[in-house]
């Protein structure tokens, strides 16, 4: 009798101890919903590394009807007469008959159902009356036709004079005023998606979002003298170059306009500042892979346009943007029209210890009307998941000379991507977000697939299908300089944003 009571007590203690884990944990930064009605925090939980939202929250936020279908073993969300069926044991949902992949199945915690956050943009958005966009990096859920440009900033030179750059993408009208030791940049938008550095440098103490939600404040140090901000618009981005001089000597009569901010961002290596050095530590080398080449022409359009030529053109444009603006080393897997094996492409990236891999391709479909850009990251099957678990659990610490130790990871060379899939998915999401701002996306804007070129790459990696050459209109578009520049600019923006994501996370 006493033994039974003790056993029951032990079970109770175990259950109580495991309760917090079963309930999930709150994310480090809450999700913010932006709509015409304003902004509000949306409660979410993180369970097994995936962010989930309660279905009753979804019902309340979107005026949808949620019902548990015990017979079918799933949950239904009804909105505007259309039905989403969510499986509770498979990571997928059906939207008006179309299957949508999700990162995880629905989960029941207590008496509440939780679904992956991605359900909102992937399954609810297609049937909702206004757009629903999830910006993973900036933790924003945008509902409705809102202008929410991404605002990023960087200190280019600690100085003095201190030079900094703020970029607003897509471009938006701005006005700059000075006020009590601050520069205020007012941006004409509904809300801002802000990715500013946490710390200042030199004569800039801080760059942060002001109390006014569409204003960015540059807080100047006490020793700051004249400050000047010059906005320009280039390639669909508003760029504000800022220069801050130190306090002038008493005898000086230097005018406030004495500082001439550079017309473009300083070239790589010209100035070394702490912030750039820190960024470089996380994203130093990018490998861009122009698909196909040589005898392998890839897709050939009806007018004879070859995939291998377009991929090389866009890769060169992207390399120029990244090298000149970010100072990051860029390697192309081929510099000219020649065949390169898929393994050679992955090996080049791995041997270069690249931090990011981006493969460029043109698409084809059996029906000529299919159009739009698509982003892919690696799909892991059972074997890939095994490889990922093995990589996580089989790291071995080996002693080395001098008494230190070194950790050796074991990962299958042909599945090296397995341990980077989460980062690759984030990168793919960012790519989709920035491509959508500039080019038409397909109905499947982001997918996971077992792509051969990504499997062996030992770093976050994605592949972009930039347009359908099987579509005559898209073939014509792909040849235009404007379209190729838009693609390169969107990918550049995505690289900048991914770098901010890595910095925010603190590790690649």
């Amino acid at each position: 009798m006493r033994g039974t009571a003790l056993f029951s007590l032990a079970v109770l203690v175990f259950l109580l101890a495991s309760l917090p884990q079963a309930q999930g944990t709150a994310p480090a930064t809450p999700l913010t919903l932006l709509s015409r009605e304003g902004r509000r925090a949306v409660p979410t939980i993180v369970l097994n590394g995936r962010e989930l939202i309660a279905l009753d929250e979804v019902a309340a936020l979107f005026q949808a009807t949620v019902r548990e279908d015990t017979l079918a073993g799933g949950i239904t969300i009804t909105y505007g007469g259309q039905i989403i069926v969510i499986s509770n044991d498979q990571p997928m949902a059906s939207v008006s008959g179309r299957m949508i992949a999700l990162p995880s199945p629905a989960a029941r915690l207590g008496n509440r159902w939780f679904v992956p956050l991605e359900l909102l943009p992937r399954a609810l958005a297609p049937i909702y009356e206004v757009p629903i966009v999830l910006r993973v990096v900036s933790r924003l859920l945008i509902v409705g036709d809102l202008r929410v440009p991404r605002v990023t900033g960087r200190i280019d030179s600690a100085g003095p004079p201190t030079r900094a750059t703020i970029e607003i993408s897509p471009a938006a009208p701005v006005s700059v005023t000075t006020e009590a030791g601050r520069l205020l940049v007012r941006i004409d938008a509904d809300a801002l998606d802000v990715g500013l550095p946490p710390d200042g440098a030199g004569l800039i103490e801080q760059m942060r979002q002001d109390d006014q939600p569409t204003t960015v404040a540059i807080v100047l140090a006490g020793l700051a003298g004249a400050a000047r901000a010059v906005p320009t618009e280039v390639d669909g981005i508003t760029r504000i170059t800022i220069g801050v001089a130190g306090v002038a000597a008493p005898s000086s009569t230097a005018a406030p306009t004495a500082i001439a901010p550079p017309a473009v961002a300083p070239s790589a290596g010209a100035i070394t500042v702490p912030l750039q050095a820190r960024s470089g530590a996380l994203l130093r080398t990018i490998v861009i892979d122009p698909g196909h080449g040589g005898n392998d022409v890839g897709v050939r359009g009806a007018r004879g346009t070859e995939e291998k030529a377009i991929t090389l053109d866009v890769a060169r444009r992207l390399r120029t943007l990244i090298e000149t603006r970010l100072g990051i080393r860029v390697i192309l897997t081929r510099e000219d029209d020649r065949a390169v094996l898929l393994d050679e492409r992955a090996a080049l990236a791995n041997n270069s210890k690249a931090d990011l891999f981006l493969s460029l391709h043109m698409n084809a479909a059996p029906v000529a009307t299919v159009a739009g850009a698509e982003v892919f990251y690696l799909r892991l099957d059972r074997e890939g998941e095994d490889a990922r678990r093995a990589a996580a659990s089989e790291a071995v610490a080996l002693p080395v000379l001098g008494g230190e130790g070194r950790t050796i990871d074991f990962i299958r060379w042909d599945l090296a991507q397995a341990r980077h899939v989460d980062g690759s998915e984030v990168f793919a999401g960012i790519l989709e977000e920035y491509l959508r701002a500039r080019v038409v996306m397909s109905r499947r804007p982001r997918q996971d697939a077992p792509l051969r070129v990504l499997a062996g790459v030992d770093m976050p990696a994605a592949s972009i299908e930039m347009a359908y050459l099987s579509n005559p209109e898209q073939e014509q578009l792909a040849l235009s300089e404007d379209y190729q520049n838009s693609l390169a600019q969107a990918m550049y923006d995505a690289v900048v944003s991914f770098r901010a994501y890595l910095e925010g996370r603190g590790a690649p």
Binding site: M92, S94, G97, R98, M99, I100, A101, G291, H292, D296, G298, V299, R300, E307, L342, H361, M362, N363, A364, A365, P366, V367, A368, T369, V370, E374, F376, R379, D381, R382, E383, D414, R443, R444, Q447, A449, P450, L451, R452, V453, A455, S463, E465, Y468, L469, S470
Partner: protein, 212 residues
């Protein structure tokens, strides 16, 4: 008298000859059927002798955005592997209207076999790569039409590996990794309105004895 007997005998032979001709050839012409068509008409009874079974095959949707499951009659075969061959042979043929085939024209099935682990191997002729138009999406449709044709109909098979000309291959056209067996990818499949849910239909091998 004798002359009359000759005449009657001759007439009788002529009549029998006429009847024989009419039976052998003339009836076709009399009822208005040309010989080629007659031959065509005479074939179905032979086909109808072969038991049929309904399988789910996969083609491009009319808008080209997904695979759609389409139920088609294929010959019933004894055992898992022979049935798999029949299904794949049907899958490699052209699509019924209004759908579009996602298999390169001229692709033939060289072999189909199943390992003890339950992985299926589909060996296709060289046309599957040499005539493929390329593009990740087109390649995904081709590969997963094959994978789904096997896994949706033969429940004991969970994974499918595609071989080309009897050998393991990297990809069909530079994208989809074929070095390992592939599982289903439902994100590429759209349920066809006319046929209802595709993947919950009874699977063929649930009523078939496994092959020896």
């Amino acid at each position: 008298m004798i002359r009359r007997q000759y005449i009657l005998t001759g007439a009788g032979i002529l009549l029998v000859g006429l009847l024989a001709w009419a039976v052998n050839r003339g009836l076709d012409q009399l009822i208005g059927i040309r010989p080629e068509s007659a031959q065509a008409v005479s074939e179905p009874p032979a086909l109808l002798d072969v038991p049929q079974i309904t399988a789910t095959l996969f083609y491009s949707s009319t808008d080209g955005q997904a695979l759609v499951p389409v139920r088609q009659d294929v010959a019933l075969a004894e055992g898992l592997v022979p049935q798999g061959r029949e299904i794949l042979t049907a899958q490699l043929q052209g699509a019924p209207p209004p759908y579009t085939s996602v298999i390169p024209e001229g692709t033939q099935l060289r072999a189909f076999y199943v390992t003890e682990r339950g992985d299926a191997f589909v060996d296709l002729s060289l046309e599957a790569t040499s005539r493929h138009p390329g593009g990740s999406f087109a390649e995904l449709l081709t590969v997963y039409a094959i994978v789904h044709a096997v896994t949706a109909n033969l429940a004991t098979i969970q994974r499918v590996q595609i071989l080309i000309d009897g050998r393991e291959t990297d990809t069909l056209a530079g994208h989809v990794d074929l070095r390992r067996p592939l599982e289903q990818n439902l994100s590429l499949v759209r349920q066809a309105p006319a046929t209802g849910p595709a993947l919950d239909i009874p699977r063929i091998d649930e009523v078939l004895a496994p092959s020896p």
